[in-house]
């Protein structure tokens, strides 16, 4: 789960990490009121989960509350790389002496946290890593020992952090790691972490991702989860707990198991078609699960045909067939549906469909044949 900047900063503040004082605003009026409450020059920042906000005009300085009103009016509703700005964060402007970079990531390859620090902050860190690899200090943390002060010092010396800022950066790193552990984050990135004219070290941005699997231990964080998608099918799938990802093709796909669904998308593409989505109906693909899945798929007007690819393991194909019939009965879909059933109780499942399914349901014996047929039928329909 990715958090917005303002959510990250609020969590930082709770863990003792210095952030500029600020408030969220959903309207220009609220932005003006926030600017008044904060006092002095403020920054109005678009809250979208995408990089390059500044260049897109989503971050503006405002010297007065009226200017804050005007900037917020401009920014709210703005489209930044496909993300509509629905909220701004208004914060006190900072006097920046220097911009640093700090992050803690869940390093999947090393299977431990990786802390990175650089004196070259405020820019694209992948570029820094490529062009000035020595400028990015990197240190893995033993998760059973934790992040110690000597680790932070090592990073600070190797990153070349300016002497007057070292104490502040050390404190920021220690608190960031505490937050990383307490929040069960998979990413905490502060770019820039600034050294101010009055020698404070402050997090000027906050990129925080939380491990979805850990949310059961963090009900307060789970509540922060906002639907960030504007796509109607993705929203519907989220609400109904269906594992779904929208793609831009016209062959709708459903299967049982992440691997077989990914493979189905690939096979449809190999057959010359374009998959419309990823949908994993899960292990127990009963009537209810099939109905829910089909409702999501059928609500996409771009979908011209469906491929249902089931390999029955614990899932029984006869139950999937019954589920499909019940779903079709309820939803009354007329588009071509190509079904491939294999594994446990597959002959029974195929017999049920052959006998009772409407004419738009086509049975194919293999995954490849089903993909080819679904692609053909989608082409015929468009």
């Amino acid at each position: 789960m990715d958090l917005f900047e303002y959510q990250g900063k609020q969590l930082f503040a709770r863990h003792g990490l210095a952030v500029p004082s600020g408030e969220v605003a959903d309207t220009p009026e609220q932005a003006k009121a926030a600017a008044e409450a904060i006092g002095g020059t403020v920054v109005v920042k678009a809250q979208v989960q995408v990089g390059g906000r500044g260049k897109a005009g989503g971050i503006k300085l405002a010297k007065t509350p009226d200017e804050a009103y005007a900037e917020a009016k401009n920014i709210l509703g703005m489209d930044i790389k496909g993300h509509t700005v629905k909220r701004v964060w208004v914060e006190a402007a900072s006097d920046i002496k220097k911009e640093y970079y700090a992050s803690i990531t869940f390093d999947r390859s090393a299977k431990m946290p990786l802390v990175m620090l650089s004196a070259m902050g405020g820019m694209d860190i992948e570029g820094v890593a490529e062009e000035h690899p020595d400028a990015l200090a990197r240190l893995h943390v033993d998760p059973l020992i934790g992040f110690q002060q000597h680790d932070a010092r090592w990073l600070i010396y190797h990153a070349g952090i300016d002497a007057p800022a070292q104490k502040g950066v050390l404190d920021a790193l220690m608190k960031s790691y505490e937050a990383f552990i307490a929040l069960e984050a998979t990413l905490i990135e502060i770019n820039p972490l600034i050294w101010t004219e009055d020698d404070r070290v402050v997090a000027l941005d906050a990129k925080v991702s939380i491990d979805n699997n850990a949310l059961f231990r963090h009900p307060d964080l789970a509540e922060l989860q906002e639907s960030v998608t504007d796509d109607p099918q993705e929203r519907m799938a989220q609400e109904r707990g269906v594992t779904y990802v929208k793609l831009d093709g016209d062959v709708g796909i459903m299967g049982n198991g992440a691997g077989i669904v990914m493979s189905s998308l690939d096979v449809v593409a190999l057959a010359g078609g374009k998959p419309a989505n990823f949908l994993d109906a899960g292990g127990g693909s009963n009537a209810e699960a099939v109905t829910t899945a089909l409702e999501v798929l059928l609500s996409d007007p771009k979908v011209k045909s469906l491929m249902i690819n089931i390999f029955g393991g614990i899932t029984r194909c006869d139950q999937v067939a019954e589920g499909l019939l019940a779903a079709l009965d309820k939803l009354g879909a007329t588009l071509p549906i190509v079904v491939r059933l294999d594994g446990t109780a597959a002959p029974e499942g195929r017999a049920i469909l052959a006998e009772r399914a409407p004419d738009n349901v086509v049975i194919e014996p293999t995954m490849l044949a089903a993909a080819r047929r679904a692609v053909e039928l989608a082409k015929e329909a468009s």
Binding site: D211, A214, V245, A258, G259, M262, L265, F278, G343, M367
Partner: protein
């Protein structure tokens, strides 16, 4: 004829009295797996169709000599269950549970690699050595005894490929589902090494998917350490970046972890990679049929 699970397996099931735990334990037993014990705190003295239940894994090991554990408890208790199994000295722990937090897995993994015990999973379908034993949730009738080893991050895709290979008259020595999470106890490399050392495995099929760099690392390992031929398959060519495709671990981050990158890395060191499960089966047939 196999790796990891076989006739010497003495299985204890953590979470045996749960609905899923009980169902799969009995299926494993019916296949021929020697299930010696179950563990559910507070239920010592009970039994599940003759399998004695203990309060702790340590008690179960002392009473029965169990050497393998299957974990079937919900995610919020699974970390504790894995540490309990490791603490009781179990050689091989197989965690079926999906949804264990990543921070827990970092700690488990770091602890695990300081010793000599083995963890398979979590978020995996388990292991089968056809004709000998199975531990997990795999549909056993898809598999037949033979000389091909299979390693996979995905359950259903494992069944699909095993069946396609089976349809061509080729069976498996062992089939290992390593799990779909970002951190799993055993990587492709760990299992490739075991198949390389197994006299009865003539070829290995490695079934990967998007996310992480486990397949790329396996490629390096294969080129440097393996005489046994390997055939690959990678799922997720159509997956867009930044989207999780079902498995917690199946996600392309930035430009890394793509299916094409993995395929290229494997092909560069001479591993054939099939474009679909049927083609993978044909490649296997061509090599050893």
């Amino acid at each position: 004829m196999s790796i990891l699970v076989n006739k010497d397996t003495k299985l204890v099931v953590q979470g045996i009295t749960g609905r899923e735990g009980q169902f799969h334990t009995l299926r494993n037993k019916a296949y021929g797996t020697n299930v010696v014990a179950g563990v559910t705190p507070g239920k010592a003295g009970q039994d599940v169709e003759g399998i004695p239940v203990f309060n702790t894994v340590r008690d179960a090991v002392e009473a029965t000599g169990a050497n393998t554990s299957m974990i079937f408890v919900p995610p919020r208790f699974a970390t504790d269950a894995i540490f309990e199994s490791l603490g009781a000295g179990i050689d091989l722990t197989i965690a079926i549970t999906e949804g264990i937090p990543a921070h827990d897995m970092m700690r488990i993994y770091t602890h695990l690699k300081r010793g000599n015990q083995t963890l398979i999973g979590p978020n995996c379908p388990g292991i089968i050595s056809p004709g000998e034993a199975t531990v997990g949730i795999m549909p056993t009738d898809v598999f037949t005894p033979g000389r091909v080893g299979i390693i996979s991050r995905s359950g259903t895709l494992t069944y699909q490929i095993s069946k396609e290979i089976g349809d061509l008259g080729i069976g498996q020595s062992s089939v290992v589902g390593i799990g779909g999470d970002p951190i799993v106890g055993s990587s492709f490399i760990d299992i490739l090494q075991r198949f390389e050392d197994d006299q009865d495995t003539d070829l290995v099929v490695m079934v990967g998917e998007i996310g992480g760099d486990d397949e790329e690392r396996a490629g390096v390992f294969i080129s440097e350490n393996m005489k046994t031929p390997v055939v690959g398959y990678i799922a997720g060519f159509q997956a867009p970046p930044g989207k999780q495709m079902g498995h917690a671990g199946a996600i392309i981050t930035g430009s890394s972890g793509t299916a094409q990158g993995k395929k290229d890395a494997l092909e560069a060191i001479g591993v054939e990679v099939g474009t679909n499960p049927t083609e993978v089966a044909e490649m296997v047939k061509k090599r050893i049929g």
